[in-house]
């Protein structure tokens, strides 16, 4: 009973965070349309990318909620991490272009497959990526590069997104989780938004029995998850 109540509070906080976050693309659309009309130069491509971002965020939020409510069958399958990172990069490319952020893919090496739900994993990575892309240009001395990368660690294979943002710490993530829904800027040192993308990724990964955590890759700081290798497929 207590678990159910806690889940309900958490989902309300996530909903609040998504509602706050959704104001941003809607505001962008409203002003892009208004100024486009005034200057007679509407940037329809930018508006389309903005609308797509909002729709993707809503879709990922719905997926996370459905997974948590067991409405979406979580089928584990052998998944290539490199392929998921590549597809996530493709999905994020237009948003990245809009924000002037360069996306880099670091998927070299043989990582084999992991057992995961492909749709869930990709949605989580795209949510995380969108949150970081929106935040990067606002950081002090921003290096506008975001790496989608994978590497081995002692517990398995890590898939994540990395940049040189030193503010991305375990402490910042822990505080953010505590403040989600209660503060309009729970990840204050990382993003100026409600950070809904991070919390949506958190909820999707949680529904897959995975954990969002702060991770490092080649001296960069980032957020990612540890996946268990699929030893059976490696034997084949």
């Amino acid at each position: 009973m207590a678990d159910r109540e806690q889940t309900s509070v958490l989902s309300q906080q996530l909903l609040l965070s998504v509602a706050e976050q959704l104001k941003l693309p809607l505001l962008q659309l409203a002003r892009q349309a208004e100024i486009g009309q005034l200057t007679k130069k509407p940037d329809l491509q930018a508006m389309q990318a903005t609308a797509d971002t909002a729709l993707r965020m809503l879709d990922n939020y719905v997926l996370g909620v459905r997974m948590a409510l067991d409405q979406y069958q979580l089928e584990l399958e052998p998944v290539s991490v490199s392929a998921v990172l590549y597809d996530s990069g493709q999905e994020l490319s237009r948003l990245a272009r809009n924000y002037g952020v360069d996306l880099e893919l670091h998927i070299g090496g043989r990582f084999g497959t992991v057992m995961a739900n492909r749709v869930g994993l990709q949605s989580a990575l795209v949510s995380l990526g969108a949150a970081l892309i929106e935040a990067l240009p606002a950081l002090e001395q921003p290096q506008l590069k975001l790496q989608l990368a994978t590497h081995r660690c002692r517990y398995g294979i890590v898939a994540g997104l990395y940049t040189d943002t030193q503010q991305l710490t375990t402490e910042a993530l822990r505080h953010g989780r505590q403040l989600m829904g209660g503060s309009r800027q729970p990840l204050m040192d990382v993003t100026h938004t409600a950070g809904a993308g991070v919390f949506i990724a958190d909820s999707i990964l949680k529904a897959m029995q995975l954990k969002l955590q702060v991770s490092r890759h080649n001296g960069l700081f980032g957020l990612g998850t540890v996946l268990l290798p699929n030893h059976q497929m490696q034997l084949v």
Partner: protein, 132 residues
Amino acid sequence: MAHIILIEPDRVLAATYKQGLEASGNSVVMCASAQAAIFAADEKRPDVIVSELQLIGHSGIEFLYEFRSYTEWQTIPVLIHTQVPPAEFSNSWSLLRDELGIHEYMYKPLTSFQQLQRSIAACLNSTIPVSV
């Protein structure tokens, strides 16, 4: 023509506002952070500052306290154009307005670009702060 420092952490929004303000003959410097705004004001004195309060690391209020601590910038008009709703200021607004010399508060989601332009024009023609 006015020289405006626009403190807006979202790059897409900042570029959109900049396009509109420049189309009406203003020169605009976009700053994503409080520190960048201090550097920009140091480089060229702005006629007006339009600032978001929700910034990374520091809040816009902290920025304004720092900004107003420099005597040469104490008379530059400041407009607050923010995602933070007015209800969160109800108790402290008059204190902030008087201490920080805020000209006007605008709730960004409900403020059209044309309203923003009118407010910028109004504060350039007046030195008396208006209430929220």
